[in-house]
């Protein structure tokens, strides 16, 4: 549907305007891709492109991109960034982005869609040859949502490159396509005429001029076809037939004024001046800034004069002169307003941006120019592109200005972090180093125990598994045994025997519980491992936090300085470009107003002559009538 209105826009103002239509539904599997669409759907393309560019950049740096959900839709993402850039009127970069998909190893339907979009970009850039070579790369399956669009675009490209027969074939096939009802017939007519088959072409235009529909776009193309046929027949000296076509044009459509003017001229050429008064009188009451209306202001008294009503004609010439004078004054004021810079100031005012009828509202702002005279200019592709560039530059200027503030804030954050961390980090680092060496020691001890236990599985060493009490007891028994070793008293033998028995008990106790002791030792070591793991987690967390602390304020200076320079350079460029673009817009508007001014001055001269002649004739008629009486 969107594309039809694009065609309609062009249809009304004889210019091309391809706005990229963002996919109607995102269906993004990756949250960041969906976020980019959230902005794109709102027309905020800088944010959309920034988010998606950042995401694509990160994706391209991944070691294993298949782990990122974006990999499911990487082609769609590459398309989308090109689409967003196209919508942001960055044709050069958008072409590159989509071309990379076209040359990639992708499914035919994906490649075909890329080729279609790229061809559309080339058409927009007035590069018909590249558009042709791109559209001819399409082969195989074409996605259903672009099938008719692709055919229509292909036909347009064929017309542009002089391949009329191919265009005719396609357009004939598109006659049933609802979305292009009227448009395909009209273009078929044009293609046939350009291929030399005039009669067939006129028949198609005639068909386009009789399409019944309640769709505004179709009705407008119908009017356009009838106006074209009417003008063609006037040129072929067939005014009576021309009038039939011109009278088919709606009274309130975008072509109604031109049709009414033409209808009047057909009556004049048939010598039916009273009939010419009907469309011209209707037209002369319409908006006085319209070219056709201004012309009809001279046409009406001219028709009256031809009917011999010179007095009425003189009055109407006088009224036309008053209107022309008033309009000339408005034009002078408008030119002055533009020269004083009010036009550009008004164009970028926030007040206007909130209003979809901003062009109309513009004239209501104080000291702004009369925009009704600029409507045609403002609808022209060149002006629209230039104006949109001016809006975009203003948006960039504001962004760059705010980014300077962001960089100030970042520097302030970095300084605060620097002051805070530099004060506490040395003491923290010292404490950390002490704990770190302690931890390393304990971990080494744990490892020694582990190694020893493993050896004991092969070569049992029960003595290694003595408890502390047992070790003390063994020492005591050993000392006692040493003490009484050479004792020759009567009780000595008994003491030595008792020591031996106790040593035996101890030995028995240790050796008989060795397996259990070994198992317990393993269990304790595992329990220790759990604590060691916790310790390691805390250790790693501390190391990360410590690194994050340093990273939070170190290493940004150069980056921020470079960014600041780039922001400053870009601001300067934007200001210069805004001045140039603004000057261009001013010149376009002044030239347009000047041309309208010159045209009105011509009319004024003609009206003055006609007025005096009408007075002369009216006076002469009065005198003649007096003489007769």
């Amino acid at each position: 549907m969107m594309r039809r209105y694009i065609c309609l826009f062009g249809l009304c103002f004889s210019s091309i305007a391809f706005a990229a239509d963002i996919s109607p539904r995102a269906d993004a599997k990756d949250l960041y891709l969906g976020e980019a669409f959230f902005y794109a759907f709102q027309g905020e393309y800088v944010d959309a492109i920034t988010r998606l560019d950042t995401e694509l950049g990160q994706f391209n740096r991944l070691d294993d991109p298949n782990l990122d959900p974006l990999h499911f839709q990487i082609n769609f993402a590459n398309f989308s960034v090109g689409d967003f850039e196209l919508s942001y009127r960055m044709h050069q970069r958008a072409g590159r982005a989509i071309k990379s998909v076209l040359e990639g190893n992708v499914a035919p339907s994906v490649r075909n869609e890329a080729a279609y979009r790229l061809a559309r970009i080339y058409v927009q850039k007035d590069d018909a040859r590249s558009a042709l070579s791109t559209i001819e790369k399409i082969s195989g399956k074409i996605p259903g949502n672009i099938r008719d669009d692709e055919q229509f675009l292909r036909a347009q490209i064929y017309i542009l490159t002089g391949k009329f027969d191919d265009a005719i074939k396609i357009l004939q096939g598109l006659q049933g396509a609802k979305e292009y009802a009227g448009f395909s017939t009209y273009n078929l007519g044009i293609a046939l005429i350009q291929s030399g088959q005039e009669l067939k072409g006129f028949a198609e235009l005639d068909k386009a001029g009789q399409i019944s529909s309640d769709d505004e776009g179709t009705l407008a193309i119908r009017d356009k076809a009838n106006l074209l046929m009417g003008n063609r027949l006037i040129a072929a000296s067939q005014p009576a037939l021309a009038k039939q076509y011109l009278d088919r044009v709606r009274l309130n459509g975008p072509f109604s004024n031109k049709a009414l003017l033409g209808s009047g001229w057909t009556d004049v050429s048939l010598g039916k001046f009273d009939r010419a008064l009907v469309p011209w009188t209707l037209l002369s009451k319409r908006n006085v800034t319209d070219k056709a209306v201004q012309e009809s202001m001279l046409g009406v008294p001219y028709a009256y004069a031809q009917l011999g009503l010179h007095g009425r004609a003189a009055l109407l010439y006088g009224s036309a002169l008053e209107n022309f004078a008033s309009e000339l004054a408005k034009l002078d004021a408008s030119i002055k307003s533009i020269r004083e810079g009010h036009f550009l100031k008004a164009l970028v005012s926030d007040e206007l941006k909130q209003d979809k009828d901003w062009v109309v509202k513009l004239r209501e702002l104080p000291e702004s120019p009369e925009t009704y005279y600029l409507l045609e200019l403002m609808a022209s592709n060149d002006f629209q592109e230039s104006l949109q560039n001016y809006f975009d530059l203003e948006d960039l200027r504001k962004r760059l200005e705010s980014w300077d503030g962001y960089l100030d804030a970042y520097e302030s954050i970095i300084k605060s972090r620097h002051d805070y961390y530099e004060a506490i980090l040395p003491a923290l680092d010292k404490q950390f180093r002490a704990l770190d060496s302690q931890m390393r020691l304990r971990l080494e001890q744990r490892q020694a125990l582990d190694d020893r236990l493993k050896i004991m599985l092969v070569s049992p060493r029960p003595d290694f598994l003595e408890t502390a009490d047992e070790r003390v007891m063994r020492e005591k028994l050993h000392n006692l045994a040493e003490k009484h070793k050479n004792d020759a008293s009567a009780a000595a033998n008994d003491i030595r025997r008792r020591i031996k028995r106790l040593e035996g008990v101890l030995h028995w106790q240790i050796y008989t519980t060795y397996n259990k002791r070994l198992t317990d030792a393993y269990k304790h070591l595992h329990q220790l491992d759990a604590d060691v793991a916790k310790l390691r987690t805390i250790y790693r967390s501390f190391v990360r936090s410590r690194q994050a602390a340093t990273q939070s304020y170190k290493g940004y200076d150069d980056h921020i300085r470079q960014l600041r320079n780039r922001v400053r350079d870009s601001r300067e460029k934007v200001v210069t470009l805004m001045a140039r673009q603004g000057n261009m817009l001013d010149m376009m508007a002044i030239n347009e107003l000047d041309q309208r001014r010159k045209r009105l001055e011509e009319f004024q001269v003609q009206a003055r002559f006609a007025l005096s002649e009408s007075y002369d004739r009216a006076s002469k008629k009065q005198l003649d009538e007096g003489d007769v009486k």
């Binding site: 902005y39 988010r51 542009l160 273009n187 074209l228 060149d382 030239n591 002559f609």
Partner: protein, 202 residues
């Protein structure tokens, strides 16, 4: 593009008509002749918009504007990365994204988010934002910093259901923050939907 084609033809025909009318004008009386000559002259002038500005100038300036857009987009992307690195490092970053269930057309008015019991953001939706969500856009509603560990996210939505009736829902979600950035998708559905009114996806 039909337009250019139409325009070329139209202009050609117009010139023929103008020439024809000019011829008639010569046949008529002096005043009428002057008048028509003037009109035709003005008509014939009516082709170019701005004579002093060439297409090359417009194109050249447009290319420069495209270049500066490219530069600024580059700066914007770098600033976004810098902001993320500086203010929301991955080890503490948590982001909450809002989406609508596919095909759900209920009117979402506002969403409020609490993190660990504290209000962190509250958003009132414009028509454009709601339309963007309904078309499948994803809104990053909140980005902040939390410690590693367990956290609770509370979401409250306010909107209008069928017949303009009030529609309010609350839901809670527990999540674990690790060293990687935490992304939580909050999926909202209107009354009568088969999905949960507030769903969560980590």
């Amino acid at each position: 593009m039909s337009v250019t084609v139409c325009f070329t033809c139209k202009l050609k025909y117009q010139l023929v008509i103008k020439a024809k009318l000019l011829f008639w004008a010569l046949k008529m009386n002096r005043v009428l002749k002057n008048f028509l000559v003037g009109v035709m002259f003005a008509f014939l002038m009516n082709g170019s918009i701005a004579q002093e500005i060439s297409r090359e100038q417009i194109k050249g300036l447009d290319e420069q504007v495209q270049d500066i857009k490219k530069d600024v987009l580059g700066i914007s992307a770098e600033l976004t990365q810098l902001e993320e690195k500086l203010i929301y490092p991955s080890n503490t970053q948590v982001s909450v994204f809002v989406t609508l269930v596919k095909g759900d057309k209920f009117r979402l008015d506002a969403v409020k988010i609490k993190l660990d019991g504290k209000d962190v953001t509250h958003h009132i939706y414009s028509f454009k934002e709601l339309e963007a969500l309904q078309n499948g856009g994803v809104q990053r509603l909140y980005t902040g910093n939390v410690r590693a560990g367990e956290h609770t996210l509370d979401v409250a939505l306010a909107g209008k259901g069928s017949g303009n009736s009030d529609y309010r829902q609350n839901a809670s979600h527990k999540f674990t923050k690790t060293i990687e950035p935490k992304l939580i998708e909050v999926i909202l559905a209107g009354p009568g939907s088969n999905s949960k009114s507030i769903g969560f996806k980590d």
